[in-house]
């Protein structure tokens, strides 16, 4: 057993960190957030050049999957920089879903273009009544003409406005919460009957509700076998959980660093506030929280693609619980220790706080994963 990185992995981590340190400073990011699209195509192109968009794409389609550790290192660096581009949505969840469900022709049509940064493919799965249940799908697809007709509404689809293609889950049979009967369709967002209601999210990233009204699709819009998409959705979401855990570690570390730095320089009562033991202990607690989250992000990366479903689910859920709790504790305390400065929009700390909030609420919140851990441990 060891926790060492290979030469190549270390080099990759260095490259990503250096790139983001140079091109994705706080002010550069702020400018991107304020742009109409809310993310940068230029940065996206550079991520493609660095090969980072192909980390879930198999070599035969121009990528380097499987690359669990590389993904983890990349996302940790992105977390540190509070990257807002649709990396998780398209390069992790989208690629995983196309890879798992797509026919050879569909994979060849999409994956190379995704790895090269030419297409952004975003899953649209969650719904209003589902909360975090993956199998609860009310959107329906019925056969119509030579293809399919979709109707329903997808809720809070992160980065839907950036998507060139949406991967929409819909029920082709069964009751609303059946495991069987869920299918995935490739839906161009410009199709007649598709309407996006776009909005910013609390962390500055963009999202939309996707309203589908009698959307006609060709027969080959279906990805994978009819009614059997849940396994692939769950696998993609689990991969996403591991990625989110890694991103969280980056945000957490940056937030802790900002806090120790701030308390060293902020002076009250004639000296730096870092000299108060109450604050030292708080930061010690924050450090323990970050390190426990880091450990669990390693575990998550190692089991994210495991075939032992039970172990995969238990460990990923355990990781998301530890990470989610760290997100809340470290985020809140970082703001607290910055005093008034912490609640302004001016410093990175509040931006990190909001990203940590969003991470905790994404791909199943802490409570959801606690529950899944209990179920899978029975």
């Amino acid at each position: 057993m060891h926790f060492n990185l290979t030469e190549e992995q270390r080099a990759l981590a260095d490259t990503v960190q250096r790139f983001l340190a140079q091109q994705y400073g706080f002010e550069a990011r702020r400018k991107i957030l304020r742009s109409p699209e809310g993310w940068s195509r230029e940065i996206w192109g550079k991520l493609a050049e660095l090969g980072l968009l192909g980390l879930q794409v198999p070599p035969e389609h121009g990528g380097m999957a499987p690359a669990a550790i590389e993904t983890m290192l990349t996302l940790e660096a992105m977390g540190r920089a509070l990257l807002v581009e649709p990396y998780l949505a398209s390069a992790v969840l989208g690629s995983a879903l196309v890879g798992a469900l797509g026919s050879p022709a569909q994979r060849e049509a999409l994956l190379p273009a995704m790895a090269e940064g030419r297409r952004i493919v975003v899953p649209a799965h969650g719904e209003a009544g589902a909360r975090h249940d993956l199998s609860r799908v009310a959107t329906v697809a019925r056969r119509g003409g030579a293809g399919w007709v979709l109707s329903g509404r997808k809720a809070v689809v992160v980065h839907a406005p950036a998507a060139d293609l949406l991967l929409v889950s819909a029920r082709t049979s069964g009751a609303v919460d059946d495991q069987q009967g869920i299918s995935v369709f490739a839906v161009p967002p410009g199709s007649p009957g598709v309407r996006l209601i776009p909005y910013p999210l609390i962390d500055g990233q963009r999202g939309a509700d996707v309203v589908l009204t009698e959307v006609s699709l060709p027969a080959d819009a279906l990805l994978g076998a009819e009614g059997a998409a849940l396994t692939a959705l769950e696998a993609a979401w689990d991969l996403g959980v591991a990625a989110l855990c890694a991103e969280a570690v980056g945000v957490l570390q940056a937030t802790l660093d900002a806090t120790t730095e701030y308390t060293r320089t902020r002076k009250q009562f004639g000296g730096p506030i870092a000299r108060f033991q109450a604050l030292q202990h708080r930061m010690a607690d924050m450090l323990m929280s970050v390190e426990q989250a880091r450990s669990m992000s390693y575990l998550a990366a190692m089991v994210a693609t495991s075939d032992d479903l039970r172990e995969r689910r238990r460990k990923l859920s355990a990781a998301k619980v530890v990470v989610g709790q760290a997100c809340r504790f470290v985020g809140q305390q970082a703001v607290q220790l910055h005093g008034g400065m912490g609640v302004t929009d001016e410093l990175a700390v509040s931006h990190g706080f909001k990203r940590l909030m969003a991470i905790e609420a994404s791909l199943g919140d802490t409570e959801h994963h606690l529950e899944r851990f209990i179920t899978e441990s029975r």
Partner: protein
């Protein structure tokens, strides 16, 4: 010991309730009950309505135009107002500068300023904090130099709540630079329209504008605006801080927010059933409700001590810490109750008049912003760390 209210107190509660039913406008009520941004006009309108009823100063003695209510009645009044969704009364005039002027001001100041606080004509803000003087307030540097019949004020205040609406600011300023920090401070009332006063907004993490920097550049303030004696301002400020903390527990509004949380949980679904029936969620909700119950009794204990003319002691720190933690816990649970719909963040949807297309349930729209915003409660009014220092030193004698 008897924890029930007397028949007179219950009758009083009924009277307040009837008044609220009849006179609190539905538009004002809605902003509060739905957690939306309440415009400044709501606050002023409510103060004027109360003033017409003779209730403009719920915590003031009758000699200054107040109601003369004892602490228990004040508590009942606040609780009923909060439950009904009345806008929060501005504390800066009623609970801060008002009591200071009553106690330490001269007769001219009382006649000039107090009636305008009651009537809602003057909006006050609190000018204590500075960039380098937060928790360590005594290190403040804004200076007021005596020049004949006025002071010349120079410096910067920061984090000033709602200064953008204010007519007046009460400030702690340094009038003696040689003395030890606490000894050279004075309490000065400054008209915000005086030349040289500049207000600059600070954007908060929820995108909102409720705090400001206030800059003073050669601002001439008449000497008659000094409260009490020169260089005694620290004493007055400490008197005021005790008041600020005693009222910061926010029991009434937390009870109202608890009810909102319950409504949200009943409407939300988890695994196809009401979230309120989910054992995980129910346990967390119960925990907050229980914490609030304990705090309410603690608050009543402090109130009854006050009613017996024992001055509010360092127990106020306990109320501030627990009250702010409960406010934050409620906001956190509400946000978690709505699942993924907590994430959309549309600032415009937080205004009462929003006509856009809703996403998710209407109750979800303001929750993430409120959660972010309420991080302030453990920072302002003396941070919770500072409150714990007070408890350790003044109660435990450590």
């Amino acid at each position: 010991m008897d924890l029930s209210f007397t028949p007179e107190e219950q009758a009083f509660r009924e009277e307040v309730r009837r008044f609220l039913e009849q006179r609190l406008p539905a538009s004002l009520r809605r902003h509060v009950l739905e957690g939306l941004h309440a415009p400044a006009a709501d606050t002023v309108e409510w103060q004027r309505l109360l003033h017409r009823q003779g209730w403009g100063g719920p915590s003031w003695p009758t000699e200054h135009g107040g109601t003369g209510w004892d602490p228990v009645r004040q508590y009942i009044f606040e609780e009923e107002c909060a439950a009904a969704g009345a806008p929060r009364l501005l504390p800066f005039g009623l609970k801060m500068v008002g009591p200071v002027i009553m106690r330490f001001g001269n007769e001219a100041q009382r006649r000039r300023f107090l009636p305008r606080i009651l009537s809602g004509e003057d909006w006050w803000c609190q000018g204590y904090s500075e960039p380098e003087a937060g928790s360590d307030l005594a290190s403040l540097r804004t200076r007021a130099d005596r020049q004949g019949d006025h002071y010349l004020v120079n410096g910067q205040k920061t984090w000033i709540t709602l200064a953008q609406h204010a007519d007046w600011i009460f400030c702690l300023v340094r009038t003696d630079h040689a003395a030890r920090p606490q000894a050279g401070i004075s309490f000065l009332l400054i008209d915000m329209k005086t030349p040289g006063v500049t207000v600059r907004p600070i954007v908060m993490l929820d995108g909102g504008h409720e705090i400001n920097e206030v800059w003073f550049e050669d601002v001439a303030v008449p000497v008659e605006n000094l409260v009490g004696e020169e260089n005694k301002g620290w004493t007055y400020a400490k008197f005021l801080l005790g008041h600020e903390r005693a009222n910061i527990a926010g029991i009434g509004s937390s009870k109202r927010e608890l009810e909102r949380l319950k409504r949200i949980a009943a409407a939300e679904l988890k695994h196809g059933r009401s979230l309120a029936e989910d054992p995980f969620f129910a346990a967390r909700l119960a925990q907050v409700e229980i914490d609030l119950m304990a705090l309410e009794i603690t608050n009543l204990r402090v109130l009854s001590a006050e009613a017996e003319q024992r001055t509010p002691g360092p127990e106020a720190s306990l109320l501030k810490i627990k009250g702010s933690e409960i406010q934050q816990a409620l906001a956190e649970l509400m946000m978690q109750a709505v699942g993924p719909y907590a994430l959309p963040f549309r600032v415009e949807a937080l205004d009462g008049g929003f006509q856009g297309e809703p996403v998710g349930p209407a109750h979800a729209a303001p929750l993430a912003a409120t959660y972010c915003n309420l991080r302030k409660t453990t920072i302002y009014g003396g941070s919770n760390e500072i409150q714990k220092n007070i408890i350790a030193q003044l109660i435990l004698g450590l």
